[in-house]
C-alpha cells in the first residue's frame, strides 16, 4: 500500500520509507535527517504549502528522538486537502535535524519548543533557544531519561 506522495517520491528516486497510514488515512513517511532538507524543499514545490503541525517525541528509553511534521496542501476550491505526515528520527546523542523554518515559517516556535523539551538541535534555525523553560535550565524535560531536580515547591500548604 503506497500513498500518493510516496509513489511520487519513488518516481523521482527519493529515499524514504513508508510507515503506513494513520487512523485518518493520512500517509506517514519516514525520512532520514540528512535527506530531510531536500525532501522538504521538494514537498514544498510539490504543493505542500502549509505546515499544519510540528511536534517531537522520545520514541523509547535509550532510543531515537522523532520530529514529526504534518504537511497540508491548501488550494482554492478543495474541501479535502491532501495531507502527509513526515517523521524524522535522530539519534539521542547529538540529534541534529535540518530546520524547515526557511520553508515554512510557522516552524519557528514549534522547533524551538522541540529543542527546549527534547534537545533536538535544528540546523539553520535562526534563534534556537529555550522557549518554555528558563534559559539556564539544564537537561531536556521530555526525554524519557530526564530526572527532574528536586526543587522545593510548596506542596502541602493548607
Amino acid at each position: 500500500m503506497q500513498g500518493r506522495l510516496s509513489a511520487w517520491l519513488v518516481k523521482h528516486g527519493l529515499v524514504h520509507r513508508s510507515l503506513g497510514f494513520d487512523y485518518q488515512g493520512v500517509e506517514t513517511l519516514q525520512i532520514k535527517p540528512e535527506d530531510w532538507h531536500s525532501i522538504a524543499v521538494i514537498s514544498y514545490v510539490y504543493g505542500y504549502n502549509y505546515l499544519r503541525s510540528q511536534c517531537a517525541y522520545d520514541v523509547a528509553p535509550g532510543g531515537l528522538l522523532a520530529s514529526v511534521y504534518h504537511l497540508t496542501r491548501i488550494e482554492y476550491g478543495v474541501d479535502q486537502p491532501e495531507e502527509v505526515c513526515i517523521k524524522v528520527f535522530a539519534p539521542r546523542i547529538n540529534p541534529r535535524i535540518p530546520s524547515v523554518f526557511w520553508i515554512w515559517k510557522s516552524a519557528d516556535f514549534q522547533e524551538r519548543e522541540s529543542y527546549d523539551m527534547l534537545g533536538i538541535s535544528y540546523d539553520n534555525h535562526p534563534r534556537l533557544k529555550r522557549i518554555l523553560m528558563p534559559e539556564s535550565w539544564i537537561g531536556w524535560p521530555l526525554r524519557k531519561d530526564y530526572i527532574a531536580p528536586k526543587f522545593y515547591e510548596i506542596q502541602d500548604a493548607h
Binding site: 528558563p134 539556564s136 535550565w137 539544564i138 531536580p149 528536586k150 526543587f151 522545593y152 515547591e153 510548596i154 502541602d156 500548604a157 493548607h158
Partner: protein, 209 residues
C-alpha cells in the same frame, strides 16, 4: 560545559571530605529590626571554573566583606535588564547581590556575593543556633557548587536544598511554626504530635505497636 558537571557531584563528597569549610570566614549581620527573623549573610562565592582550588584556599583569609556604609541600590534599572539573579522560595531568598542589612540597599554590581534572606515571612520560630545551622548548611552548599555557572538554575538548586534542610529541621523539632505569624497555612506540613522523630523515647510511648 565542563563547569556544569560540577553541579552534578553528590553532596556527600563535600560534607565528608573537606573540613576546611568550617574555617571559612562568614559574616552574619542581623537585620535592623530584631523582631523580624530576617538576617542577612554575605558570603564570597569564588566562581572561576578554570582556577584550581589551591588558589582559593590561599586567597581565603584576606578576603573579607567590609561593612559598606555607603552602599546604594545599583543596577536594578530597566537598562540592566530589570531583574536580578535570584532564587526566591517562601523561606529562602537568595540573591546574587550585596544587600545592606540595615538600609536594604541592593547592590547588584557585586555579583561575587550571595545574600540569603531567611524566612522573611516569619513562619517559623528561629533562634541563633538554628539560624546558624541554616547558614552553615548554606555555606557548605555554596562551597559545593563552587565552579558551577552562576545561573538561576544553580541558585535554585541551592535554595531548594536549603528549603529541604529547613523542612528537616522542622521535622526534627529544631524549629517550630510561629503561631503568631500573619498567615498560618503550615506550608511544610501540619504540626505533628511526635516532635522529634530521631528521638526513640518519644516514639515509644506514642506509636501503636
Amino acid at each position: 560545559m565542563a563547569a556544569m558537571a560540577a553541579t552534578s557531584f553528590s553532596l556527600l563528597g563535600l560534607l565528608g571530605g573537606n573540613g576546611k569549610n568550617v574555617a571559612r570566614r562568614r559574616r552574619i549581620a542581623a537585620a535592623a529590626t530584631p523582631e523580624e527573623a530576617q538576617v542577612t549573610e554575605e558570603v564570597q562565592e569564588e566562581k572561576q571554573p578554570e582556577e584550581p582550588k589551591v588558589k582559593n584556599q590561599k586567597r581565603m583569609p584576606e578576603k573579607r566583606v567590609e561593612p559598606q556604609l555607603m552602599a546604594q541600590s545599583k543596577n536594578m534599572g530597566r537598562e540592566y535588564g530589570g531583574d536580578w539573579l535570584s532564587s526566591v522560595t517562601r523561606h529562602v531568598r537568595i540573591y546574587a547581590a550585596y544587600i545592606d542589612p540595615v538600609t536594604h540597599a541592593f547592590d547588584q554590581t557585586q555579583m561575587d556575593k550571595l545574600t540569603i534572606i531567611l524566612d522573611p515571612q516569619n513562619e517559623f520560630n528561629w533562634n541563633d543556633d538554628t539560624c546558624n545551622m541554616v547558614y552553615t548548611y548554606f555555606q557548605e552548599l555554596v562551597d559545593h557548587y563552587e565552579g558551577a555557572p552562576l545561573t538561576e538554575y544553580t541558585l535554585r538548586l541551592i535554595g531548594s536544598d536549603v528549603e529541604h534542610y529547613i523542612r528537616k529541621l522542622l521535622y526534627d523539632g529544631e524549629i517550630t511554626y510561629n503561631m503568631n505569624a500573619r498567615q498560618l497555612n503550615f506550608s511544610m506540613g501540619k504540626p505533628r504530635v511526635i516532635f522529634n522523630a530521631n528521638d526513640e523515647s518519644q516514639i515509644q510511648g506514642i506509636m501503636p505497636q
